[in-house]
């Protein structure tokens, strides 16, 4: 059992606290709310200016969830509830189609712009409804969230309902994203209580584990229907940050279910993915890799994105809090130092999102079609809480 110095832990806790409450929340609560049309501007420049008025549903919903979470777990600030309310009202009014599928993006006023053949808008809407219902004490919204979950669960089983053509030359395959996001959705929806969702949880964990190949010490993004390795571009694709995120989602359920074997699997997923994904030359986690060492076909494979680093901070700290091993603590410190020195912006608040391989900022915006108020504050918040616990127990 390795224990970092009490003062080290204290200083780190303060750093995370200051970064969340002094840097990140002020940026987003100042610049993103649209109090005229409702919802949030999520495409924000370095200094907070709006460079695009489209409202992306993933990010609207995640922002509702995050402000509600902070309200529920840290401090019931009226401002946070008000901001969360802006988003949930906008989504309920504009984002839900008649068949209860959700759009991917809306214009400033709420008119639909795009719908994806994916289930993730729906998933993030569910966690928004669930967390907001607790913050605003409106149980009818939790009921709505549960109904929406039934719809998503059925959609997840049958791609043809999403309008995706199923063609004979496709190799039937499974995507890691689906069971892992559904596990997170169930955790949020149920408040971490499995009752009523036992079968769904079991199904998702079973599906997720099909992506974890112990013999290869690898987590694959896409596998065959029985979990077999596919020697194709998709089958060889690794997304270290995504695998690490799946690892800490699994830790959450391992804790709820008191399942040590599951904890061990999560520990492995996180360690393996970090070891493979960390750039030994320039630091940071690669976005994509190919299991056999080919060049990934994604043009941006070598870039360093903010969110894998956010996920890795949570994951290594969870690993450490379970194993007590020095190596997990040091991995946490490695990612924390890289993240704070590369993504943090002293001048305007908020975090940058995209770096080249060498670690230079390539995109100066703080929010975009896929980056909002979510990974950064979620990570800062969870790490802050974990560090607080460590401080008490050390």
């Amino acid at each position: 059992m390795f224990t970092p110095g009490k003062k080290d832990i204290y200083l780190l806790k303060c750093l995370f606290e200051q970064e969340l409450f002094g840097n990140v929340i002020p940026f987003w609560s100042k610049h993103s709310p649209d109090r005229i049309n409702g919802g949030y501007y999520n495409c924000l420049n370095r200094n907070g200016d709006v460079y695009e008025t489209t409202k992306h549903v993933w990010l609207q919903a995640r922002q509702v969830w995050m402000f509600s979470k902070l309200f529920n777990q840290f401090e019931p600030k009226p401002e946070w509830l008000e901001i969360a309310g802006l988003g949930i009202d906008f989504l309920r009014k504009h984002a839900v189609r008649q068949d209860r599928r959700l759009y991917f993006s809306l214009n400033e006023h709420g008119a639909p712009k795009w719908i994806q053949r994916k289930i993730f808008s729906e998933c993030f809407y569910i966690i928004a409804l669930a967390e907001y219902s607790r913050a605003a004490d409106r149980p009818e919204l939790l009921k709505e969230a549960r109904e929406q979950f039934e719809i998503v669960w059925n959609l997840a089983k049958d791609h043809s309902q999403l309008g995706r053509p199923v063609l004979e030359g496709q190799i039937p395959s499974r995507s890691l994203a689906v069971p892992m996001i559904l596990l997170n959705v169930i955790e949020e929806l149920s408040g971490g209580k499995p009752s009523g969702y036992e079968q769904e949880i079991e199904d998702c964990i079973k599906q997720l584990l099909l992506h974890v190949h112990e013999d290869k010490k690898t987590v694959f993004e896409t596998v065959g229907m029985e979990g077999q390795f596919l020697n194709t571009i998709e089958g060889r694709l690794l997304n270290p940050g995504h695998a690490i995120e799946a690892g800490w989602f699994l830790h959450q359920w391992a804790t709820i279910l008191s399942d040590n074997e599951l904890h061990q699997t999560a520990i492995n997923m996180i360690r393996w993915s970090h070891e493979r994904g960390w750039d030994q030359k320039h630091g940071g986690l690669f976005y994509f890799l190919d299991y056999k060492g080919h060049s990934p076909t994604q043009l941006e494979w070598f870039m360093k994105l903010w969110w894998p680093h956010n996920e890795a901070m949570i994951a290594h700290l969870l690993n450490y809090s379970i194993t007590g091993e020095q190596k997990d603590w040091e991995l946490f410190k490695q990612v924390q130092e890289y993240s704070f020195s590369h993504f943090h912006d002293d001048d305007h608040g908020g975090w940058f999102g995209y770096l080249n391989r060498e670690g230079d900022v390539t995109h100066n915006f703080k929010g975009g079609p896929y980056k909002g108020f979510f990974h950064v504050p979620r990570s800062l918040w969870i790490c802050f809480k974990l560090l607080e616990k460590l401080e008490i127990s050390s």
Copy 2:
């Protein structure tokens, strides 16, 4: 009128000839044909090994076109006709759906894997059919190409036929790709003779010119229905290589139609786009830019891709052959030197496709889902012919 030295022209001509016939064609004619299943392997590693057996229809069709073109215009080598035949037979047998839409990708044996909600598979199939019909002296294939063009022309008018949802929050807009590719398709289909396609040509040129904003000296990828600038992520997007390609497609029609004003527009499009798109710090053409200087949301915006450089070599050389101005010759030389020193591979033949901003190779494959036997040989072939003409006239 500036004239480079006769010896300079001669040496450059030899360089292009050697690169095409000694480096690029041998790589693809050796490694890509699949004489068991038909068609071509288009995902080829640095050394020519197949790393993925999926056959991408754009690249199958373009390879048929290119080998047929070389057979028709350079030398009637039986090997080239045989290779072109492998591809056209495979496409006709497997790529065309019952409603005559074309798939985007097929497996090794020809079973469909994916269909896009776009018309480009169809477009490249038409030019393949047309050029091969001339090479193989099979006029019935030209008839097929003409029928397929009717279908594409109707699809291009109405996105709903492609299965794209049309939602009320979308800003109706026009994409540069559609009229520019259709202009190229009509050129190939008609053998450069407008007869029978006068209306379509006029329509496409008119549509293309809506993207050319003289006052802003800019070519926009996406504009409003009347050609107006849209201050959105899509509306501000610039793709310098694409705009340069559109410029030289327009030169072709300006020549056919003896339209000097059109030539002048094409000259401007090419010069403006180069000036804006060239990286003053590291050389090479950026992939994407934002008109107002925001960061493009495409993660790969700063990368240097092979094809914009291929297009720019053709475009500047065409500009020079029309204007005789030294600056056009020097732009050609600038791109040519960058391209040959960065994309050429001495060890294994073929060209690399993807570099980071600094010009280092980021992806070591020679062929992938979007890179085949097309831009490199087309550019080498057209530049070789243009240099030959310059040599004679100098």
